[in-house]
Amino acid sequence: MNDTIASIEGGRGFWTDSGKSGIGAWIFSTDHKRIGLLYFYSVLAFFLVGVLLGLLLRLELIAPGRTIVGPQTYNALFTLHGVVMIFLFIIPGIPAAFGNMILPLQLGARDVAFPKLNLLSWYLYMVGALLALTSLFTGGGPPDTGWTFYVPFATPTVTNVSLAVFAVFIIGFSSILTGLNFVTTVHRLRASGMTFFRLPLFVWSLYATAWVQILATPILAITLLLIVAERFLGTGLFDASRGGDPLMFQHLFWIYSHPAVYIMVLPAMGVISDIIPVFARKPIFGYKAIAFSSLAIAAVGSLVWGHHMFTSGMSDTAILVFSLLTFLVAIPSAVKVFNWVSTLYKGSISLAPPMLFALTFILLFAIGGLSGLIQGAAATNIHVHDTHFVVGHFHYVMFGGTGFAFFAAMHYWLPKIYGRMYENRPAVIAWGLMFVGFNTLYFTMQVLGMQGMPRRYYDYLPEFATLNLVATLGSWLLAVGLVVMLVNLFRGLFYGPPFPANPWGGATLEWQTTTPPPTENFAVDPVATRGPYDFTGVERT
């Protein structure tokens, strides 16, 4: 691969070589890196909005009784926190932002298969996002249903559920189109010599994710349309008094939304699979097992949605089957974890910031995954259902997992894209603050849940006061860490020292081009001559 490296030393790559500038060079660009950055800044902005909402929620819960907001506002806050974090940050976060930036580079392609469709996806995402924000300030006020929009409450509530739901509907299309684009890109635009088993594992995970996006997202779209039909046309589909079935909504919703969990976490696993070998200086252990486990998670993960509904009145048979399938999906997840750990074994580990975040992912994801099994088992599920335990669990998986993988990806790939480097020390300090803050916040939540504190209540019994105070303090520590991390990162990316082509010695193709990459990624189309984690002869440059 090294033969094909072209050098544009001293240049700013795609930032300058198109000769265009101004906002038009961004919002009309079909360059995957620019679209990736558009996504990145959009999702990051919404992430910060979500963080603020989350901090407000924690602040309300710092002491029993009303602290800063009343019940209705609290309901709106947790709904918005969920909608913003899930639909605007975590679903598009890694696939749309880093997938766009990195996927064609890793394939040795000049761009994605459908660059214009790619830009359209971003526009759809933004339209949906803006509509979601509009829903806060118009109609009957911000939605208060929770991000799941459960009926029957979603039908009679006077808040602006219809617009919010429509916004999510549009964002869904963005997701479908991105999935279609990535699947086609992986099949059609691989570099010469880039066989399927030479694909980096990040590509494998994006590929599996893309199929889930294509097949599952339409169900969400239809479900959301049905809510709108229910609200405006009074179809009675979910209304038991008119022959409908509220449980049907939960099925339809989770048929999408559980696979969506894998849309969120699979790309994160791909990021980790790419980072760990580079910083352990060892080929990944069990490449094929990890690649196929992505597909297995995508497939089995599409069949486990009922575990969200164990207390909804499903039949025992359904509960048994869904519980079993839930346990099965733990197998490919564990395959990944064991393979990552085995990769580390006897590796030459360098604890650079991307690696710190990646290792944290393994720990936090393992805690989240294991606490998931407690809920996947029907009997224990009943004890913890709709408690803070669940909130803690999915924050471990989604934030501790995908969120930390997102931070890992930021520290791993953004210097390549920007051509400048952040400082190491503040990044490590930020990581430490976030790690401690995170566990203080969410582990405490799990304990609270075990003790019986329900989720989605703005008030609680006095005996939960101490732990809630601890959790809120943890949220502050986490927020401080986040600020330190972002300030350090962006200061580095804009003003830091130049970042060389391949300082960490990555063997995948994105490290074989100049920093930052030129508009069409490679001066000469690269040829893949070996696997993505074969570090023989790869030098840190």
Partner: protein, 278 residues
Amino acid sequence: MRRPLACPLAAALTLLLLLASPRLAATEEPVHQHPTAPPPATGATEVGLSEQLGKKLPLDLNFLDENGKIVRLADLIDGPTLILPVYYRCTNVCNFLQGGLAHTLPQVKRTPGSDYRILSISFDETETPELAAKNQRLYLDATGTPFPPAGWRFLTGDLAAIQALTGAAGYRFRRQGADFVHPVASFVVSRDGTIVRYLYGTSFLPKDLTLAFAEAAEGRIGATVRGVVAFCFSYDPQQRTYVFNLLRVAATVVMLTAGSFLAFLLVTGRKKRPSEGA
């Protein structure tokens, strides 16, 4: 219980859900009454219909045709057959039933006599072949087309044969003076006499008839258009009509589209670049 959903989308989603949930799927089974042996036709107090779907009619029964000739049911039922239990002197609903059918038949895009046949069978044992022949002329004329007489036969028979037939079909009626109290329904049987579908009321939809005939012919016709039609429509026992099975169709279309997309990608493979040379 499948609900009569007006909106096909809704129906599809219900079905999607039903596929998804074992519990709901279990309750999806149409609830049919399975009474014990129907009471004797005449003299019984209870008039009604207990569907005997999947059961077989005794095909060795003898009836008289319009010419007074003795015919065996097995000889007449040699393909999908619609059977109308009526009596020819009936002054109202039997006329509506047969008139409604005559009105619809020209719109059924199948060949009478070969693709399907119709049997009007009188459950009044006192009626004669002459009356049957008169009815045949009347209703064949009413179709407004040159409808082959062999495609719609009018039978009369003795009490034993009538009771054997109606009893097997779960059809219970009662004589009341010169008239009868009876359900207004007809049913479709396949070649071997298996009851495939009951059709209710005096009006027929060409779609319902076509589908019922297609269903009755299933197993013989193989993968033909009719087979596809039968795949796309399923019977809603509550609405008692055929409904477009949007879920099944949409799921098939989606999986086929996604599958062909994948197949296309796999077959075309990697796109060669100009720099690679050819």
